[in-house]
């Protein structure tokens, strides 16, 4: 047998009159999808649509090739990896057949035919394995996070139908004459053998082949026609969505107006409804009404029904207000989303809209009033800001005095008893260091972080401008703060408003000084400790190691890690104004977190945020007496271990 004979007839056994129909239907399906995609693109295009940034393009290629983001959930990641590469192999096989049949090119014979057949068959097998894994997690292991709507599994079933009908089609074709070289089509050859073994004759095989061909053509056309549909369209949008994902720190907000952007629209189309965002959402974990996926799907629905310029009322009307106010802005949903959807910004935009509409919860209104009138969210007279420092003789900056190092105490550090103890510890350390630092005393005002997270952008900018002006009047060179929220605001959000200051969180400050030997400390204590990563420090700004190094330097006991730590840490329940809003759920976020901490067996729970400290302290009430831990801030831990000079 010559190599030219090692091939097969394309569209053999298919009636001639059916071929033009086949091409017609396939092209119609393609064309309808293409028209919808182009129309959508034109509707939503903007001046910044082109992902021209080379780094972003490379990032998308890496994302698609290695699936590193999807593999964070091992089972689902492997399932997608198999499906993706299986699909690629089958698509390549179909393209080869198309080129051979419809163009003057002639290459589909001999060794190429054999190896291509093997490649496509193995690809198809992997494809089916991936799809079966998806179906397994939906119908057998029944993962909670998966959306239980009828249409969600249609993509999987349709792809499975395409793959199985393709293999049966191949098997029935081979079964007619069973050529030995077709053994390279491993799956098709096995099916053909089984057909022959079960007594299928040539005529029957040909009949089956014709029927299966029609069935395969129909489901394939259907697949292409359905591509612009929700879920199907993730195959087109997910790469683009990932390429346009937020690259700035997770905790950073921009002053962008709450108007749907084309990125928002594209990202809602890219949602695969996988539910990873729901799985990591603290509000969802305690039974509060927020489900981040529902926010994305709700906006998608609004856009689908009302068009891209959907009114804000249409968007908000789809959610109960408690849904919008449940978010703790921890950013876990953003971080875990496999297609890079910015749910965090969507929720803040919804809040901004609610504030503009004037429909905010009473607790939010009180916080806004406090921040506007008293310059702090605790609704305390700002003149009481220095009460915590009575008798400490702190160096309050004089008007216009140039400041080398400004210790920014923050509102929690000034007004909350738990926060005040952190401030005192910081003062102890600073005094021990004997370095010239200043505080602003009663001139310090809220950075505006809680107001901004609750959607009061105007109030935030008002406070921000005042603070920036004040700091500029002192020519502040460096800001030191023990509050990750203040840290994040100074580091990421004030620069956009003209206030670029060097800022350090106290964990970084302490780590730097301990490492350089300028802050001598004595290791002590033998009890095990664990560290709770504040969202605005760890996930939000990527600082997870400095606090751990500080703990290791001063704590004699073993440092144990909670199940969720570092960037994958779990929220304490305070962020995004949730400390004030307190939407009711079945449990409390802080209770879940302290239970995780208690499971490590630690006796001391260390954190680096005064708000976290309040919440974790509050969560202790939910523990048994013998599980309760001491909650300490890093500064308190260090202040206890200072080596006398």
């Amino acid at each position: 047998m010559s190599s030219a004979d090692v091939t097969r007839e394309i569209l053999g056994n298919v009636p001639g009159w059916l071929v033009p129909w086949f091409y017609g239907v396939i092209f119609a399906a393609y064309a309808s999808s293409a028209v919808i995609f182009v129309q959508r693109f034109r509707e939503r295009r903007g001046a910044t649509t082109a992902p021209s940034d080379r780094a972003r393009v490379l990032d998308v290629i890496k994302y698609l090739t290695f699936h590193q983001k999807l593999l964070e959930d091992r089972f689902a990641g492997i399932a997608h990896l198999c499906t993706f590469y299986g699909f690629v192999a089958l698509f390549m096989g179909t393209s080869i057949v198309f080129l051979e049949h419809s163009t003057p090119l002639h290459f589909f014979y001999g060794a190429f035919y054999l190896w291509a057949s093997l490649f496509v068959d193995l690809g198809g097998l992997v494809f089916i394995v991936g799809l079966l894994m998806f179906l397994w997690q939906r119908y057998v292991s029944k993962r909670d996070r998966l959306l239980s709507r009828w249409w969600v599994a249609t993509l999987t079933w349709l792809l499975l139908a395409i793959a199985i009908s393709g293999f049966l089609l191949e098997g029935s074709r081979i079964a007619v004459d069973m050529p030995a070289f077709e053994s390279f089509s491993v799956v098709g050859y096995a099916i053909a053998g089984a057909l022959r073994f079960s007594g299928v004759e040539n005529e029957t095989a040909l009949l089956w082949h014709r029927a299966l061909w029609v069935g395969h053509a129909v489901v394939s056309s259907l697949f292409f026609a359905l591509l612009p549909w929700p879920l199907f369209s993730h195959m087109v949008y997910s790469g683009a969505s990932w390429g346009r994902r937020r690259t700035r720190p997770l905790a950073e907000l921009r002053t962008s107006a709450p108007v749907l952007t084309w990125i928002d629209l594209m990202q809602t189309d890219a949602c695969t409804t996988c539910g990873r965002c729901n799985e990591v959402c603290p509000a969802q974990a305690v039974g509060q009404p927020l489900a981040p996926r529902d926010i994305v799907l709700g906006i998608r629905q609004a856009v689908t029904e009302a068009g891209p310029s959907v009114s804000y009322a249409d968007q908000v009307g789809r959610f109960s207000h408690d849904v919008i106010w449940s978010c703790t802005t921890c950013g876990a949903c953003n971080q875990t989303c496999p297609v890079g959807i910015d749910v965090y910004d969507e929720i803040i935009d919804l809040r901004r809209g609610l504030v503009e509409q004037g429909t905010v919860p009473e607790a939010a209104e009180e916080l806004f009033e406090g921040t506007a009138a008293e310059f702090n969210p605790f609704h305390r007279d700002n003149d009481e800001r220095m009460d915590w420092a009575q008798g400490l003789g702190l160096p309050v900056a004089r008007d216009g005095e140039a400041i080398e190092l400004l210790y920014w105490v923050g509102c929690a550090g000034s007004f909350d008893p738990d926060g005040q103890s952190v401030s005192r510890a910081m003062v102890t350390i600073l005094d021990h260091l004997d370095i010239p630092y200043r505080i602003l005393g009663c001139r310090e005002r809220c950075t505006g972080d809680p107001a901004r997270r609750m959607g009061e952008e105007g109030l935030f900018q008002e406070r921000a401008r005042e603070n920036i002006d004040l700091l500029a009047s002192h020519s502040v060179r460096k800001v030191l703060t023990h509050c990750p929220h203040c840290y994040n605001t100074f580091k990421n959000e004030y620069p956009e408003l003209g206030g670029a200051f060097e800022v350090e969180h106290h964990s970084q400050f302490l780590d730097r000084l301990i490492a350089s030997g300028k802050l001598p400390v004595t290791e002590g204590g033998s009890q095990p400790l664990t560290f709770h990563d504040p969202c605005y420090l760890g996930r939000g700004n990527g600082e997870t190691e400095a606090p751990r190094r500080v703990i290791d330097a001063v704590a004699g006991g073993e440092r144990r890690e909670m199940a969720r730590h570092g960037r994958e840490s779990f929220c304490c329940g305070a962020g995004g104004g949730a400390m004030w809003l307190d939407v009711q759920g079945k449990d409390r976020v802080e209770n879940l977190r302290v239970k995780e901490a208690a499971e490590t067996g630690a006796r001391t729970l260390v954190t680096g945020c005064p708000f976290c400290k309040v919440m974790l302290e509050s969560g202790q009430q939910s523990l048994e007496d013998d599980q309760r831990m001491q909650v300490k801030d890093l500064a308190e831990l260090v202040a206890e271990r200072l080596t006398p000079r």
């Binding site: 509707e43 939503r44 295009r45 001046a47 649509t49 921009r254 002053t255 962008s256 107006a257 108007v259 952007t261 084309w262 068009g307 891209p308 310029s309 009114s311 804000y312 504030v355 503009e356 004037g358 429909t359 905010v360 919860p361 009473e362 607790a363 939010a364 209104e365 009180e366 806004f368 009033e369 506007a372 009138a373 605790f378 609704h379 305390r380 700002n382 220095m386 009460d387 420092a389 309050v396 008007d399 007004f415 008893p417 738990d418 005393g441 009663c442 952008e457 105007g458 109030l459 900018q461 008002e462 401008r465 408003l497 305070a574 400390m579 004030w580 307190d582 708000f611 309040v614 509050s618």
Partner: protein, 327 residues
């Protein structure tokens, strides 16, 4: 029949409106259907701006109160705080002049077919419900069930008729976003910056230079007279000239002279001073006190207050209604 609703409100020494004043406006806007007129002290720009931001379009000078034929007047505490404006006698004087019912400590009201249902707070958890028919003067309590929040962005952007344009520097900037959706239909009507598009989206009509123009074309135009008047006001504001040197603008209608006791004549705008106090300054209205810290601070039991603890976690207070939190 369309009713005339009068809302009288005023800021405190720190340019802040009390809950009562905001509640008066909120109740008027949400519960009462009619033509709403806001009355603020002369020169009380912050109160006027708040009212304009909340959606009030008609304003009345205090001297006009004498002839105002209102059906319902809602009075905030801030409006009664200035002794020059008759102080806390103001509601009583208004009620007497109009022959209206007078109720204090009003926390809620609802329109009914046969009149107005008014809920008063009697203290210690007790309330009574009155049915008011005919003209009424209602003084709103601080524990009012408030409806509606007016964002700072709206307040800073608003400029009531006849007042100064909002200060450009104090305005909120939305990042200039590209028009990322096709400018068809709604969006096409509002070209320009994100701020303008957002204003349009929320139906905020802004007068002054930050109106519908693009951010790039904010030109201030004015006649020589206007410019001169602004200059004089600027000079008076900074104490370069006496306020009474500012000539009053000619108006098409003649204002009646103020009555002897009801309200004081208009005063130039006075803002709370932020610098160190002078010996002649009063204690009121100064947000900040001189530094450094007091050397001897009397011992004070710290209030056990934290963010968590001040949050509303307990049962509803007696003066709150569960449906108030429905959202």
């Amino acid at each position: 029949m369309k009713q005339e609703i009068l809302v009288i409100l005023g800021t405190d020494g720190r340019s802040q409106l009390s809950k009562s004043d905001r509640g008066a406006l909120g109740l008027a806007l949400s519960e009462l259907k009619g033509s709403i007129v806001a009355c603020t002290r002369a020169g009380d720009q912050d109160a006027a701006r708040y009212a304009a931001a909340a959606g009030v379009e008609q304003f009345l000078e205090p001297r006009g109160l004498e002839d105002c034929a209102f059906d319902i007047a809602l009075v905030g505490r801030g409006a009664c705080s200035d002794a020059r404006d008759a102080g806390d006698l103001l509601p009583a004087m208004l009620a007497e002049r109009r022959g209206a019912a007078l109720a204090y400590e009003v926390v809620d009201l609802r329109r009914r077919a046969d009149g107005l249902e008014v809920v008063r707070d009697l203290g210690h958890g007790a309330r009574d419900i009155l049915l008011v028919q005919g003209p009424a003067v209602l003084v709103i309590a601080d524990s009012v069930r408030r409806t509606g929040y007016v964002s700072r962005r709206r307040v800073l952007a608003a400029a009531p008729k006849g007042s100064e344009s909002p200060d450009e520097a104090s305005q909120i900037d939305w990042q200039r976003t590209q028009p990322r959706v096709r400018l068809s239909g709604h969006a096409a009507k509002v070209q320009g910056s994100a701020t303008n598009r957002l204003n349009d989206l929320f139906g905020i009509a802004i007068t002054g230079s930050r109106g519908k123009e693009s951010n790039d074309s904010q030109l201030v135009t004015g006649s020589p007279e206007t410019c001169a008047r602004h200059l004089l006001r600027y000079l008076a504001h900074h104490d370069f000239i006496a306020p009474d040197r500012i000539p009053m603008p000619e108006t098409s209608h003649r204002l009646e002279p103020p009555s002897e006791a009801v309200l004081a004549p208009a005063r130039p705008r006075a803002r709370p001073r932020r610098g160190p106090r002078r010996a002649t300054d009063s204690d009121q209205g100064i947000a900040r006190r001189p530094l450094p810290l007091k050397k001897t601070i009397e011992s004070r039991v710290p209030q056990p207050v934290s963010g968590r603890r001040i949050a509303r976690r307990g049962p509803y207070r007696l003066n709150e209604r569960p449906e108030a939190d429905a959202h």
